[in-house]
């Protein structure tokens, strides 16, 4: 079997001031999967980020999530939305890991798995579908829900994983 080193850092952003939108663009198609690791918080409340691919602002997204509040478990979903809300990072600090499978293929819609660990608020798992006519993902935006902001010091790191 072939073996090759992978899980390569592509880019990292550390916010010097609060922001509503963090963008990774001109993403190479040299990998098989993307992994986006976010560590941060909202500046004021438990607003939720959402994800956007290739600048598509239409209702090509859908999402199903599962979360625990500390006293109950619940599941919700949104179909045909332009804002697939992933869940809050909390107000003290949380992390989010987004796995974007097979992002560069041009034959299928794109599926992403999301885990959020917001210890002061909730824990989440979600699956997101992007249904635009199949095209490679070359741009990822993480945007905060209206009125929310990613806090100064929040970090965003994008990795690429290449299959043999």
């Amino acid at each position: 079997m072939a073996a090759g080193s992978t899980y390569t850092p592509i880019a990292t952003t550390t916010l010097g001031s609060s922001s509503t939108d963090v963008e990774f663009n001109t993403i190479s198609s040299a990998y098989t999967d993307l992994v986006l690791v976010i560590d941060g918080k909202d500046t004021t409340s438990t607003y939720s980020p959402y994800i956007q691919f290739n600048g598509d602002t239409t209702t090509n997204y859908s999402i199903t999530n599962l979360y625990g509040t500390g006293s109950a478990a619940a599941s919700s979903r949104s179909s045909s939305t332009s804002t697939p809300y992933l869940g809050s990072l909390g107000t003290s600090r949380g992390n989010m890991i987004i796995q974007i499978q097979n992002y560069a293929n041009t034959t299928t819609y794109k599926t992403a798995l999301v885990r959020i660990n917001a210890a002061d608020f909730r824990t989440y798992a979600s699956v997101v579908l992007w249904r635009k006519s199949p095209e490679a993902i070359n741009r990822v935006n993480i945007k905060m829900e209206a009125s929310g902001n990613f806090a100064t010091g929040s970090t965003f790191t994008l990795y690429g994983i290449a299959a043999a």
Binding site: M1, A2, A3, G4, S5, T6, Y7, T8, P9, T12, T32, D33, V37, D39, S62, I63, T64, N65, L66, Y67, A73, A74, S75, S76, R77, S79, S80, Q99, Q101, N102, N105, T107, T108, Y109, T111, A112, L113, R115, A125, S126, V127, V128, L129, R131, P134, T155, T157, Y159, I161, A162, A163, A164
Partner: protein, 188 residues
């Protein structure tokens, strides 16, 4: 993997570039199907294994995972927690013949252009002093109420080192554009 993350996000840790390696990949081509995806003769050079899957099925159903070609009737345990967009479910399948993935909801989808995302970690796969434990996050989003997100824990009740992994779909086959990759994660 953790070294890379720590090295990037923290101070004082040198990023490692060779602790996460691609071992092998299986892709199902256009208009093709595959009944079983097998990774055999898996190297013992790693500490953990990770399967990263984009799976489609000819008929929607659960994905099964077996180690070392062991299909013994009671060799595997599973616990599952899922959400389908409106309700949360949890159950167990104890003493089964395989690990079950994407099994609480709609299953691996057969819908055109759509596949399940699956990440399964096989921890300490070479340890011959204990049973092997897996953790899996899987999901299929279909823009309908058939969607599902699921956590699964699994156990293969054998002390043998894992050297082979077989993946199948219950009563079905992997459909075109399925992509399954095996990675090895090194320890120190």
């Amino acid at each position: 993997m953790l070294n890379i993350i720590a090295g990037t996000l923290s101070v004082g840790v040198t990023p490692s570039t060779n602790s996460y390696e691609s071992i092998a990949t299986v892709s199902v081509g256009a208009s093709s199907t595959s009944a079983t995806v097998t990774f055999s003769s898996i190297s013992s050079a790693y500490t953990h294994l990770q399967l990263r899957v984009f799976a489609r099925a000819t008929v929607s159903d659960s994905m099964w995972v077996r180690f070392n070609n062991d299909s013994g009737a009671s060799q595997y345990d599973n616990h599952r927690l899922n959400g389908n967009g409106s309700t949360v479910g949890a159950d167990a399948r104890i003493n089964y013949s395989a690990l079950w993935v994407s099994s609480r909801g709609y299953g691996i989808p057969s819908t055109a252009n759509i596949g399940s995302g699956i990440v399964m970690d096989v921890l300490d796969y070479q340890n011959t002093n204990k049973y092997k434990v897996t953790r899996t996050l899987s999901g299929q989003e279909l823009n309908t109420s058939n969607s599902d997100i699921e956590f699964t824990s699994g156990s293969w009740k054998s002390t043998s080192a894992v050297n082979r992994i077989d993946l199948t779909i219950n009563g079905s086959t992997f459909a075109e554009y399925t992509h399954i990759a095996l990675y090895g994660i090194k320890g120190v």
